[in-house]
Symmetry: C2
Subunit: 357 residues, 2 copies
């Protein structure tokens, strides 16, 4: 199999040198070698997320930590902001764990607005707000910094953010914005395989967790904090994945975080321009388009299913829309290690396949 | 780092060709390539476990599925058989999830006996029994087949087995014995890195799960069953790990399961003989010694901590006992892909370091 840029919204392409970095021999997870590894990785993650607080490594996909956030942080009621399939899933996870929750819904394609959250918090008795940063199903990026500002007005309300397809692709200021949990799976903008979830936990969140009963054993924030003192995790971690994460974080800092974010912005702009020039338009409302993934509105009603087959013959997987907007939209991901020339190549092939030029 | 046999009880040594098999490019987890992969792996696991029932792949360490078994299967009361640190952990997981449970304790070094379970089930109102197959802290192997026979006498009582350090090292007959859940992490006898848990779920267990409220979202047996119809998992799976599992399962069948189990028995016998001949003795009660890991009783009171340092200088990690029996015992693991000559080399080095010969 050749290694090439895959524009699907995750698992994204992983660079061959990263895969090789993951292929190092095993080490004991209670031994010094492992503590050295985690002790190296954690400060790099703190730098990436702009936090002096805790950043933990969950051996699970992001859903595992989304569930843990609910179980560790809420005893009263969760306000779950939803604007697409993945944020809606977080609301459903509350019920699956017997937690009281209300959805705060924006239409698909629209963003969550700070004032919606303000109004809901003003009228309700909540102790936790959940929100997706980048809604992968609709290509909408929510204004997390502004929403966090609203949540902070309400004492005793914590804010948990699913940044699965945004973290490492756009700047995140965990301490400056005041995020209590910020989580991401590694198979998106980190450009690693799936199987590991990075998550920050604030001091107030940790304090809350200590008093929450039945918060579970596998992702118990208090246990994570306790083992973290020795640069370890409560249970055996996905060591190969952490080798890869260590390697990728070095790549980020070598490229420079600013340069990395600028590359993501440039790719987003190129992709949006392509969609507009070809007469498609964009699915998200203006001003809230994702930087890591473009959801193209299929305004020309082209046959995306056929295009997908044709692209597949050329060795590229493309996406034909998610759930109820399948076919009406299609999504082009541009996150991770991929470059503007690689994106332009994919867009050129799409022109060819869709006979747009 | 050189690749060599590591006698610690997991994460065990992973063969370089397995690590390379894991380094293949990513694929979309909702695409045909992934379904082909899972569709190949599942029948191999069914063959390994002797089951025609479901075998699922959990992206987590074994603790994640131990917790899920409790959350998915019990609404009344759990009887949690404990005989060491890891089985005791399963009992604690019940409380961490607000589930009623009683421990059924054998002393450290002793095995759970079927008649103990029979008596407890006779007097209590249980709907689930948990038991460890191979207690990694004490080197005791419990008579799972005989215990299962007892549990089956009680209608409505399910039996969940943590086979973390036994599965793929000793024969398991899930259908013949009647195990409702049988789980194992991949970093032990599978000789893979940590980060994936293989687990079987019986039809009665699946039926039970359907009616259990608050069973959680991340490892929900009913969701796993539903996605398995398409050879997929409910959330993004650890794809690299599954590449490795596919490769290792082929290795198992190439070696032959009988030959693989015989190799594990031969290593266990050699290790036990070494311990007896050197005047150490074994920690587990006679007849219940683990086949994948030998817990040596430090009857000669040698300085294991110094030996550990000396072995480390020679490039080998060794274990100096777990928890409250640290120093009083030391454990030599002999599971996975390692061979009798490799084990003999380690034992020879231990002779040298401990000045036993």
């Amino acid at each position: 199999m050749s290694s090439r840029f895959s524009p699907i919204p995750g698992p994204v392409e992983v660079s061959p040198d990263t895969l090789q970095a993951m292929a190092k021999p095993m080490i004991g997870h209670r031994a010094g070698d492992y503590s050295d590894l985690q002790g190296r990785v954690t400060p790099k993650l703190q730098r990436l997320l702009n936090t002096r607080g805790d950043v933990f490594l969950g051996t699970c996909s992001a859903t595992g930590v989304m569930e843990a956030a609910i179980r560790n942080l809420s005893t009263k009621r969760v306000l779950s902001c939803t604007c697409g399939a993945f944020s809606e899933r977080w609301f459903e996870i509350c019920a699956a764990n017997g937690k009281a929750a209300d959805p705060l819904r924006a239409e698909w394609g629209k963003a969550i607005r700070p004032q919606m959250v303000d109004e809901a918090l003003h009228h309700g008795e909540y102790d936790l707000v959940t929100c997706v940063h980048n809604e992968t199903s609709t290509g909408v990026m929510n204004p997390i910094e502004e929403i966090a500002k609203v949540v902070r007005k309400y004492p005793g309300v914590l804010f948990a953010v699913d940044s699965v397809s945004a973290m490492a692709g756009v700047p995140i200021d965990v301490d400056g914005w005041g995020l209590d949990v910020c989580l991401a799976g590694t198979q998106k903008a980190f450009a690693l395989p799936p199987g590991l979830t990075v998550f920050s936990v604030s001091a107030p969140a940790l304090e809350r967790a200590k008093s929450v009963p039945n918060r579970g054993a596998y992702i118990d924030f208090v246990e994570f904090k306790s083992f973290d003192q020795k640069h370890q995790t409560p249970t055996t971690p996905a060591i190969s994945m952490i080798y890869g994460l260590d390697f990728q974080l070095d790549r980020f800092f070598t490229e420079g975080l600013e340069a990395r974010y600028a590359r993501h912005r440039a790719m987003a702009e190129a992709c949006r321009a392509w969609a507009r020039e070809r007469g498609f338009g964009l699915y998200p409302e203006p001003g809230y388009e994702s930087v890591t993934l473009t959801a193209v509105a299929n305004a020309r009603n082209v046959d995306i299913t056929s295009a997908k087959k044709e692209m597949s013959k050329r060795g590229y997987s493309i996406d034909d829309g998610y759930g109820k907007i399948k076919g009406k939209t299609f999504r082009i991901a541009h996150m991770g290690d991929c470059t503007l020339p690689e994106l332009r190549e994919v867009l050129g092939l799409l022109d060819e396949v869709l006979k747009l030029k």
